[in-house]
Symmetry: C2
Subunit: 382 residues, 2 copies
């Protein structure tokens, strides 16, 4: 077990924490407030933010879409330059925060912003970012990852850089009060799969990492099981903190990671617009069954420690069934068929994109070639 | 649930990480290497450190004792001043790191260093500290706490300051290969009680914090049960990472904390020289029984989730018995009697010190007055 780890994001968790942002941003900063479709104007967050910034000089950029596009974000980069912005304040969920990371890095890069997710340019500097989370799911508020879509080319690509990790993250669970049911469900599923990507791998008896991952999975399972009773402070706080911990880097230190479900899922979203979390729910059970040989031991451990299943020869298979049943209990579809994608052409399109991005050896063992990716997708047509 | 949290210490975990310190300390720094009784010269750590510092300007200070005394540490402060040291490198266990924190803060304070633990002076600046951990137990390598002893007055007092939190912490499990059995046992027990202080409290259904705490307790229980088979990389890495996580602040965010076991235990160490971890093993079971009314619910949860005990009316009592049996399985005494302290005079002395430090309302509910402290200590005579 060998790793380097630090998480430098200052977490401000709890009700009425938005007011604290003024102390986190230097008073002489020129701030760009970036947000999405305007829900923050309806739920009061926009007013809280502008009130907190009353002594700061700031401008705003709205309209960042789910699966944020470089086409939109490049306009924010122009605004940063024309307004001499030196601090980015992202107010939103994973899409807005991921998009803000693209903006913060692109603004200090002379070339095309898309060079960053496409891998042509390695980020060496970025404007500082603060995040006010309005939708718990991705963990982007305190990590160095970003996923951006190129609408023109239907590409959805990720990049990582310590320079774009937020300096602070406000997590006020009250912002979840007005979230649509669909987004809360997506948050539970997205966080769940984030944990799985760092847990359902070759075991190396890392007690802390395994135990933390199982604690998060049990938390998310319980939150899903209590979904009908979600309208209370405790439920909201537990989801927000679980989703953050699921992808702040901690549970993945010193252990194998996989991420093949995400890589294939991204292409499904890019090609057919399936919600990110829902793309994962389609790919993951099928991928687990395809990769059963190397994932059996950890699935057995998960079956006992997370789902409380009885031991037995088919424990790993029953664990995958339990994962699938968990998604279905939240009315999240687990097949391509459920999304109306039943044809070989649909599979061809996704596999074609996987190939065009050079993702010909996915997963912890690089064992998922195009052949396995096709098998996984075909098995998701039922 | 409301909290602010960040842990800014860069963790360098794993074998052969000591070589990396040269990149963590500015090349033009004047470094003071602080260590203890010289075990680092016998186990090769000293050579690794001096080799890593070959391009740095450094001096050294040795002789920091277990339960580090201000009498010794004040000499290091003098050395810092006379040598114009601007970086402290602590090489040791919790005592050396805690002592280094005292030195780093005292060096930039005009008054008596002891003003800091005694509460007369609030730390506002300190020299930067790096830590190379040689004994996993206290978590001091990545937190802001320090406990220092005044040998003259037999006082052992704690202080907290973000300014003394190490900038980086090297955790190479190989340094544990030459540790005496007694110190490894102390490490397991110390880390265990650190988790308990943040977990056996009023429950507020914080799924992540509770789940993480239980994961650490299960890890430490397993490591204790496997104590005979401890001579392997996996055991060492798991203990080192568990002990770090037990007191890096994370599991305690947003939940009640207690620390009465530590407060009473410190006085036992100050008065009679009982090892820190062993003082906790004496106080804790007795304190749990004394405070059963408010701790029952969490002890029941711990009984099921950590020890796998069956539910039932006396579950909480059986959990305390299991904790006590765990200590005894490691040949750690759980009574004052085992340490030869059987008289009312011994109890009088400890209670007198508790009173003299104004600790007349200890624990999460401030319910442990001098009367309860006396009851707890008397019940530990058997």
């Amino acid at each position: 077990m060998k790793f380097n780890y630090v998480n430098p994001t200052q977490i401000l968790f709890g009700q009425n924490q938005i007011v604290g942002i003024s102390g986190q941003i230097a008073p002489d900063s020129k701030v760009l407030v970036i947000y999405g479709g305007g829900s923050i104007k309806r739920n009061g967050v926009y007013d809280q933010v502008t009130s907190a910034l009353e002594n700061h000089n700031w401008v705003e950029f709205s309209g960042v879409e789910p699966n944020p596009t470089r086409e939109t974000l490049d306009k924010a980069v122009e605004l940063v330059r024309s307004e001499n912005v030196d601090y980015i304040l992202a107010v939103g969920g994973g899409s807005v925060i991921d998009g803000s990371k693209y903006v913060a890095a692109s603004a200090l890069y002379d070339g095309e912003g898309w060079d960053i997710p496409s891998g042509k340019h390695q980020v060496t500097q970025a404007l500082p970012i603060g995040a006010i989370l309005t939708l718990p799911a991705t963990g982007s508020e305190s990590n160095m990852g970003s996923v951006v879509t190129n609408a023109t080319t239907q590409e959805k690509l990720a990049f990582l850089s310590p320079f774009v990790q937020p300096k602070f993250a406000v997590m006020d669970p009250d912002v979840m009060k007005t979230l649509p049911e669909r987004q809360l469900v997506n948050g539970v599923v997205d966080a769940w799969v984030h944990v799985c990507e760092q847990y359902i791998t070759t075991t190396n008896n890392a007690y802390v990492q395994d135990g933390y991952a199982e604690a998060l999975l049990r938390s998310l399972l319980k939150l899903g099981q209590d979904f009908e009773n979600r309208d209370n402070d405790e439920w909201r706080a537990n989801l927000m903190w679980s989703a953050n911990q699921a992808l702040n880097g901690l549970i993945g230190v010193g252990v194998a990671q996989d991420w093949a479900t995400h890589m294939i899922g991204h292409e499904l979203t890019a090609a057919f617009g399936v919600d990110h979390a829902r793309s994962l729910a389609i790919v993951q059970p099928s991928l687990m069954r395809n990769q059963m040989a190397t994932k059996r031991a950890k699935l057995e451990q998960m079956g006992v420690n997370v789902f409380g299943l009885a031991k037995g020869d088919d424990l790993a298979e029953r664990t995958v069934d339990a994962i699938e049943a968990f998604y279905q209990s939240l009315e999240v579809a687990t097949t391509l068929t459920d999304h109306g994608l039943t044809t070989e052409q649909a599979v061809d399109k996704i596999v074609g994109q996987i190939e065009s991005h050079g993702m010909v050896a996915l997963g912890e063992h690089q064992a998922i070639t195009l052949t396995e990716s096709r098998q996984i997708l075909e098995a998701a047509i039922q």
